[in-house]
């Protein structure tokens, strides 16, 4: 791996939406994606002038499991212990959408053809939205890696980006899954032990503060994610409800007496348009608010993982100190104990420095991402509310003008 110091390199503020411009050294994007049966195939397109690659521009096809493999490769790597590893993209989940489409297909005789067509349209839109989201999630993951001065130099990343063949990383088999599960338990137990009992003193105020902050923040943001999801679902339900209302108004209108006919038909049309607007509000809230919260929940978890690793390193350092003292007392194997202790010390300090930087960056990143998304959210909400108002006003004028 070549040393490629980029001292003046500025990391672009990351956000969930694709704001990551790699510099000329490494640019990654997902140029295409295909959904087959139960898997999605992403076409990862790379542009790079790095000498390591055999071409300057190339593409490979990757599936979700391969992204996970890459993520695990980073998290398992000691060298990156002091870095917040970009959270892995969530598995593409079309299950709910697929179920709904199936239920629609099974048919409900009370639904008219127009209603059916509209509901199908809604569902297809939903499917498409989920698809776009999963592409975005996978892309952001890669782009953050490509933008990070240290992480972008990883060999596994190059393999991922360039290796033409399938990486043969089938979905984690049972043993590995189980192993992963155990690892997580051990980790939390470790953390509890380390921080609670052993009297491991956190001398650094900064990290103490970060720990308290992150623990609470992660819980709160997870809670917010759950609740915002419910809001999304309600909003979508509401938009869908406009379909049968519009249909009923329409059939009323066609049968009604002369004076009410136009009123009902206009109302039917209004509800149809309102449905589309409500749908857009729901999906914008989804993108700008829900997705953002979910992403930063995962990022907060990654930050927590970093803190844990640092604590482990601190524990190791403490243990090494104790071992050294013991060795000195017994005057046995002092040299090796000294070396070990120095190693632990260096490792811990290096980790701490890196972590400090990473956590500061995390805060800045969070700030700018929330800022961007909240501004966009407010602007979109305003846009839709204004459109709705106009629509409603026009209908009111038309109706009031009726004899």
């Amino acid at each position: 791996m070549e040393e490629n110091p980029d001292p003046g390199e500025e990391r672009q503020p990351c956000s969930v939406s694709m704001d990551l411009q790699g510099d000329g050294a490494l640019q990654v994007e997902i140029s295409d994606a295909v959904s087959e049966r139960d898997k999605v195939k992403f076409t990862v397109h790379t542009k790079s002038c790095l000498p390591h690659f055999s071409q300057t521009e190339f593409s490979v096809v990757r599936q979700h499991e391969e992204f996970i493999w890459l993520h695990d490769a980073y998290t398992d790597n000691e060298d990156y212990a002091g870095i917040i590893i970009p959270p892995a993209p969530p598995k593409p989940d079309f299950e709910a959408s697929r179920e709904k489409l199936q239920r629609l297909g099974e048919g409900d005789s009370s639904v008219t053809r127009e209603e059916f067509a509209k509901m199908k349209q809604e569902l297809e839109g939903e499917y498409l939205a989920i698809f776009k989201k999963t592409v975005a999630m996978h892309e952001v993951f890669l782009q953050r890696l490509a933008a990070h001065p240290t992480l972008r130099r990883d060999h596994n990343l190059y393999v991922f980006l360039e290796y033409g063949q399938d990486l043969s990383v089938r979905g984690k088999n049972k043993k590995e899954l189980f192993g992963g599960f155990i690892r997580n338990i051990v980790k939390s137990a470790d953390e509890a032990l380390i921080t609670g009992v052993s009297g491991l003193k956190e001398v650094d105020e900064f990290f103490e503060h970060e720990r308290t902050f992150l623990l609470e923040y992660h819980t709160r943001i997870r809670d917010a994610c759950l609740r915002v999801d419910r809001v999304m679902r309600s909003h979508k339900c509401l938009a869908e409800d406009y379909i049968p209302v519009s249909a009923a108004l329409s059939s009323l209108g066609t049968q009604e007496v002369h004076q009410l006919k136009t009123s009902f038909l206009k109302l039917a049309e209004l509800f149809e348009r309102l449905r589309k607007l409500e749908g857009r509000v729901a999906s914008d809230e989804d993108l700008k608010l829900s997705d953002m919260l979910h992403y930063y929940m995962r990022d907060a978890q990654a930050a927590k993982d970093l803190l844990y690793r640092r604590l482990r390193a601190l524990a190791d350092y403490e243990n090494a100190n104790k071992a050294l003292d013991k060795a000195r007392m017994r005057n046995r194997e002092v040299r090796s104990a000294e070396t070990h202790q120095q190693l632990c010390c260096r490792r811990f300090e290096h980790l701490s420095d890196s972590a400090r930087q990473e956590l500061t960056d995390f805060k800045a990143r969070r700030g700018s991402a929330f800022r961007k998304n909240l501004i966009e959210l407010a602007e979109l909400e305003l846009k839709h509310a204004k459109a709705s108002t106009l629509l409603l006003r026009n209908t009111l004028t038309a109706l009031k003008g009726e004899p």
């Binding site: 609470e216 419910r230 009923a248 059939s251 007496v257 002369h258 805060k363 929330f370 709705s388």
Partner: protein, 519 residues
């Protein structure tokens, strides 16, 4: 639904409205043509222009005749325009009579002219203006409010008392403004009386709000939660709409029972309205019997108008039910959205509190505030969805049931007439047989019976024609009201939606600078 008194929407245009309706309108053309083309309509004492449209202002031609043979116990508002006989025969409410029997003298009717000798005392004395206004049907000066629900008593005997306030300048009332306390069964009692008197002769009597054993029990038991407050509010609003509709009906407005209900401080308890009382059970049995009968009556419909209308109302009923169901789902989901938004607002506030980044923390708190306001907004909109739109639909679904009932009464009336004709025929045959058998005393009896049944046939025919006429008028009035109601409600509902969107704009506009302030 407007019981608020509104001035005729388009001043003079109102006239134009009527004309328009007369010319092109389904509802009226057949009515008008029938009446105008057959001045020798069945009833000798018929009124030339019985539909409302031509009746706007100005006195009617002097040949207004008051029938007292008609089943409705009060003269029509429209007919009252002849002002030389402002006196009316008030008829005190009879005992609750079985629905079918009309209350008529069985003697032959003779046409009466104007101020007939009425023996009953005059209860009211109306000015020309008032009568004209009522004839118009649109501008009648009476406003009803139902308010201040108050729990009276304890435990299972407890009940809600509602204040019924009337504001009016009609002189048939003792005062201009007065209020009384009424309980739900009082309303049901009122409806029962009105229905008994007017339904079977073809008047569309607005149905009373429905009973709810579950809802009421919760209130009685003293559950002070939001569902029982909502239940009481729903009921209060329904009672108000019920009264407003009832007083809008020109004939019902004249009814002394209605007046007593609005005015008198004490009202005898209407016990027969209890669901599980003897009378209640009898009602249910009668209803079932009626339903069976309806299926077996095969009427020769000579007038296509009725068949058409029945079909129209049947269709309307189905459509309204569908719409109502879909609006109910909308209400439900909007309420859910409101609740979920409130929950999210709380978690956003907590997130803001725990956020390290100061400017972001502030923005998140602001976001939480916005979301909280929005949840309130959703809730208010859900109320509008319900009280403005959904309840109107359910009111009309029940009103249409009343309309259908009136058509059914006409069928029964026809059947009675038909049965009388059949019996008459039999009596004639019997007489013929007696003639042949030469039994003088039996012949006399047969002749008597024939006379009796001839009278019944004539009465039956008159009744039938009367109810048909009344129904036509009623349907015309009903449809006019319905159009007005729906239009008003639609506009009101849309205005509520506009209001919500405008509030949203306000909130998000206030939030935007906060988001931009995140450093």
């Amino acid at each position: 639904m407007a019981a608020e008194r509104e001035p005729p929407p388009l001043g003079d245009g109102k006239q134009a409205d009527f004309e328009e309706l007369e010319d092109g309108e389904d509802l009226f053309t057949s009515t008008v043509s029938t009446l105008e083309s057959s001045p020798s309509s069945p009833e000798p004492a018929s009124l030339p222009a019985e539909d409302l449209s031509t009746n706007s202002n100005g006195p009617k031609p002097a040949e207004i005749i008051l029938d007292d043979d008609r089943e409705d116990l009060f003269a029509e508002a429209t007919e009252e325009v002849s002002l030389d006989s402002p006196e009316r025969e008030p008829i005190l409410s009879p005992e609750p009579s079985p629905a079918i029997t009309p209350i008529t003298p069985t003697t032959l009717m003779a046409p009466r002219i104007e101020s007939k000798s009425m023996s009953a005392p005059v209860i009211f004395d109306r000015s020309r203006d008032e009568i004209e206004e009522e004839a118009n049907g649109d501008v009648f000066d009476i406003e009803i409010g139902v308010s201040d629900p108050e729990k009276v008593g304890d435990g299972m005997n407890a009940y809600m008392a509602y204040r019924v306030t009337t504001k009016t300048s009609l002189s048939m009332f003792n005062k201009n403004e007065f209020s009384v306390k009424r309980r739900f069964s009082d309303f049901l009692g009122l409806h029962s009386k009105l229905a008994t008197k007017y339904l079977h002769v073809g008047y569309i009597v607005p149905p009373a709000p429905e009973k709810s054993i579950v809802g009421m029990t919760k209130v009685k038991v003293g559950k002070e939660d939001s569902s029982s407050t909502e239940f009481v509010e729903k009921r209060r609003a329904a009672l108000e709409r019920y009264l407003q509709r009832t007083v809008k009906h020109p004939t019902l407005l004249q009814d002394p029972d209605l007046r007593q209900f609005l005015e008198s401080s004490e009202l005898p308890r209407a016990v027969n309205t209890q669901a599980l009382s003897g009378a209640g059970i009898l009602r249910m049995v009668n209803k079932a019997a009626d339903a069976v009968n309806k299926m077996t009556i095969k009427m020769n419909e000579s007038d296509a108008w009725f068949e058409e209308k029945q079909q129209q109302f049947e269709n309307l009923d189905q459509q309204l039910r569908k719409l109502h169901a879909s609006v109910e789902a909308l209400v439900c989901h909007r309420k859910e959205l409101s609740a979920n938004t409130a929950a999210f607002a709380k978690s956003a506030a907590m997130l803001g509190n725990s956020e390290d980044h100061t400017a972001l923390s502030r923005a998140l708190s602001q976001l939480a505030e916005v979301e909280e306001k929005i949840d309130q907004l959703h809730q208010e909109q859900a109320f509008a969805d319900f009280y403005v739109f959904s309840e109107l639909l359910s009111d009309y679904i029940r009103l249409i049931a009343a309309v259908k009932g009136v058509f059914d009464h006409r069928m029964k009336c026809w059947q009675k007439w038909d049965d009388a004709q059949i019996t008459l025929q039999k009596k004639r045959e019997a007489e013929a047989k007696m003639m042949l058998a030469n039994k003088p005393d039996k012949i006399q009896q047969a002749k008597n019976e024939i006379r009796e049944w001839e009278a019944k046939v004539q009465q039956g025919e008159r009744d039938f024609e009367q109810i048909s006429k009344t129904i036509r008028k009623e349907v015309g009035r009903f449809e006019k009201e319905r159009v007005k109601d729906f239009k008003t409600v639609i506009i009101k509902y849309l205005e509520s939606l506009v209001q919500t969107q405008q509030q949203l704009i306000k909130y998000w506009e206030a939030f935007l600078p906060e988001a931009k302030a995140i450093a």
